[in-house]
């Protein structure tokens, strides 16, 4: 069977010493930054991206970066349960019941169920990725420029609709990102746009600088404003093996969480965060005794944990098959591929099968590492949480500066983080979501390329987007999404769903 052959190739690639080693490094690093609040996979991957340039094998680089990403989902739950502090935004819901369980002396089972749920979800998601990637790539080959443009429009609109807060503002943020992406040389005409005669800008603004500034530095400034104060739950965590009753109770929640997470992860703007929130909401809605939620209900831990891991991994699907990033982290993965001269898109599967399948299988191996390592290492993670923020954030600043410099060995890129840090801070104050902007930034030039080509082929006929069936379908879905979100009934539900987030 095709699938088995592919998986076998994947195992052969992923199980080399180098790849195993970097997978391990990635997941441990991921757990570490997942545990620590104030730094997340986005900033870390951005920091390490330039360093991966030195790696000879792009597969190894991607394996490590991917490990950081889904490893962070594991780490985030540890601090959520033990300290009531979500290390990652996808672990916010885990604090609700996880911390309560810890307060009742049930930290062990909470952590164990979180790990088991995450592992199950990770395994399922890996299989889904392996099974659905080839057919999706097949469809993608039928895509022409009009379809790609329509797909990106759909992707950006879906990201907006599923995002936090005002849809209009998120749309504006996307356009903002698209505009900033315009800086640089226009490939078609060779004209350097918006570069104000600064030579470093003729290639465009460095994505890593934008990501670090808006997500890393702005976050630090905001945290300093809030005067972080943490109380660490350093009681000895015993009894790591869950009871059979716990497993039985959690099992259906794990299944539901995995399903929901896998589906939501594929959608742009969705990913791990949306998955975990939705899973919690669903569990609470269908529970026989919803009053238990918020008091230490194990399903309130199992479902979101499964969902966020499933979501994190399935969010790789659009990136690997279509070359379209659905979240900022995926955009970084694409950047990593491009550094190694791999053009992301449906052809990756056939031109770099080792990379493709090796990466997929490595995700399962990584999940295995995580579930085996995390429980024994809980003690270390807890001790790390007591590192004071005042020591942590200068270190983060330093690593980001080192990373930004090493992109082009030019301090210009370090300077570039500053205006984006200010921008990120301002946006946060104005309730504007930065994530859609980053997506717009990444897709900016690509969208223009596809629009141009589509228009050239159709000789200036705008109706080509609705006369071609695939493109029309995609745009129709986007339109439907927009209409749905503006309907008063739905917009109220959206506000409710996100109200629990604040």
């Amino acid at each position: 069977m095709e699938l088995l052959n592919n998986l076998a190739l994947g195992f052969a690639t992923a199980a080399t010493f180098d790849n195993l080693l970097y997978c391990l490094i990635g997941v441990i690093l991921g757990t570490l930054i997942g545990v620590l609040p104030g730094i997340g996979p986005l900033a870390t991957i951005a920091m390490l991206l330039p360093a991966t340039y030195k790696m000879s094998d792009p597969t190894t680089a991607l394996i490590m970066l991917a490990g950081i990403f889904y490893g962070a989902q594991y780490g985030g739950s540890t601090s959520a349960i033990l300290v009531n502090l979500p290390g990652e935004s996808s672990s916010v819901v885990t604090t609700l019941d996880g911390y309560q369980m810890a307060r009742r002396g049930r930290a062990g089972p909470a952590l164990a169920i979180a790990a088991i749920a995450s592992f199950f979800a990770g395994t399922v998601a890996t299989l889904l990725l392996a099974a659905f990637a080839p057919p999706l790539a097949e469809i993608a080959f039928k895509f022409g420029p009009a379809e790609y443009f329509a797909l990106m429009v759909l992707g950006l609109i879906a990201a907006v609709v599923l995002a936090h807060g005002s849809v209009l503002k998120a749309l504006a943020m996307v356009v903002f990102g698209l505009l900033i992406g315009m800086v640089g040389t226009d490939v078609n005409s060779g004209v350097a746009r918006f570069s104000f005669d600064v030579p470093e800008l003729s290639d465009g603004i460095e994505f890593v600088a934008v990501a670090m500034g808006m997500f890393g530095f702005a976050e630090i400034i905001l945290n300093l404003e809030q005067r972080e104060k943490r109380e660490v739950f350093t009681n000895k965590v015993t009894n790591l093996f869950p009871q059979w009753a716990d497993l039985k109770r959690a099992a259906p929640a794990i299944l539901r969480g995995t399903t929901l997470g896998s589906l939501l992860g594929i959608l742009p703007g969705g990913g791990a965060v949306l998955a975990s929130f939705s899973a919690y909401a669903v569990e609470k809605k269908i529970a026989k005794d919803p009053s238990q939620f918020g008091k230490g209900e194990i399903r309130g831990v199992a479902a979101p944990e499964a969902a966020n891991n499933a979501g994190a991994q399935t969010s790789f699907i659009p990136m690997l098959t279509l070359g379209i990033p659905t979240t900022p982290v995926m955009a970084l993965m694409i950047a990593a591929m491009m550094i190694h001269n791999i053009q992301p898109g449906p052809q990756v599967m056939s031109s770099n099968p080792k990379l493709f399948w090796g990466l997929i299988v490595s995700m399962w191996i990584g999940n295995l590492f995580l579930v085996l390592l995390n429980l024994p290492l809980v003690g270390i993670w807890v001790r790390l949480l007591s590192v004071p923020y005042k020591v942590l954030y200068p270190a983060i600043l330093l690593f980001c500066c080192i990373g930004a410099y090493s992109i082009n060995n030019n301090v210009f890129d370090v300077f570039m983080t500053i205006p984006f840090a200010i921008l990120g801070y301002v946006f946060k104050k104005l309730d504007c979501e930065p994530a859609p902007m980053l997506l717009g930034f990444v897709l900016g030039k690509l969208m223009e390329e596809y629009l141009r080509r589509a228009m050239t082929i159709s000789r200036g006929d705008w109706s080509v987007f609705v006369t071609r069936p695939l493109s029309a379908t995609l745009l129709a879905i986007a339109a439907v999404l927009l209409v749905i979100v503006f309907l008063p009934a739905i917009s109220k539900k959206r506000e409710e769903a996100f109200a629990g987030d604040d």
């Binding site: 505009l179 020591v391 500066c401 840090a421 309730d431």
Partner: protein, 153 residues
């Protein structure tokens, strides 16, 4: 007409200004036609879209149903210190080398914390220096000037 939602109001202003700015800046580039798009076509379109969205947002902030929100207090000290630290790092790295730049970065940024102490800052600077040297220079083989240029001559 009153401004109810200050955050939306100023977001709207920001978007209108940025959109218009891009539209104006795009005028120096050829527009072209739909069939043969020049470098100015797409940015002008986007700029116009952005300004339009900004206007909608701005109007929405003054509407009856708008949520009454003010902008939270801005902490200028934190902003200034962190960004100054980064700028100083970038300025000093080429001529004064990594060691000096690191100390300045950690030193200046640490002041922004309400739990600041000279001792902790000094210790963590040294630890980070050793760590960075091991991981970034030896481990990842990144290149950057370590010592001040007047010492290496």
């Amino acid at each position: 007409m009153r401004i109810r939602n200050h955050r939306d109001f100023w977001s709207g202003v920001l978007f209108i200004v940025t959109g218009t700015l891009f539209m104006v800046l795009s005028r120096q580039y050829q527009l072209g036609t739909a069939a043969k798009m020049g470098p100015g076509y797409y940015p002008t379109m986007l700029g116009g879209l952005m300004a339009g969205l900004g206007l909608l947002i701005l109007l929405g902030s003054m509407a009856k149903g708008a949520a009454p929100l003010k902008i939270e207090r801005i902490d200028f000290k934190a902003n200034l210190l962190v960004l100054l630290a980064v700028a100083v790092y970038a300025l000093t790295l080429p001529k004064l080398g990594f060691i000096v730049a690191l100390f300045l970065l950690i030193g200046i940024s640490s002041v922004a914390s309400h739990e600041f102490s000279w001792k902790t800052t000094a210790i963590s600077s040294v630890v980070l220096l050793v760590f960075s040297w091991l991981v970034f220079v030896k481990g990842l083989e990144l290149q950057f000037p370590f010592l001040p240029t007047f010492l290496t001559r």
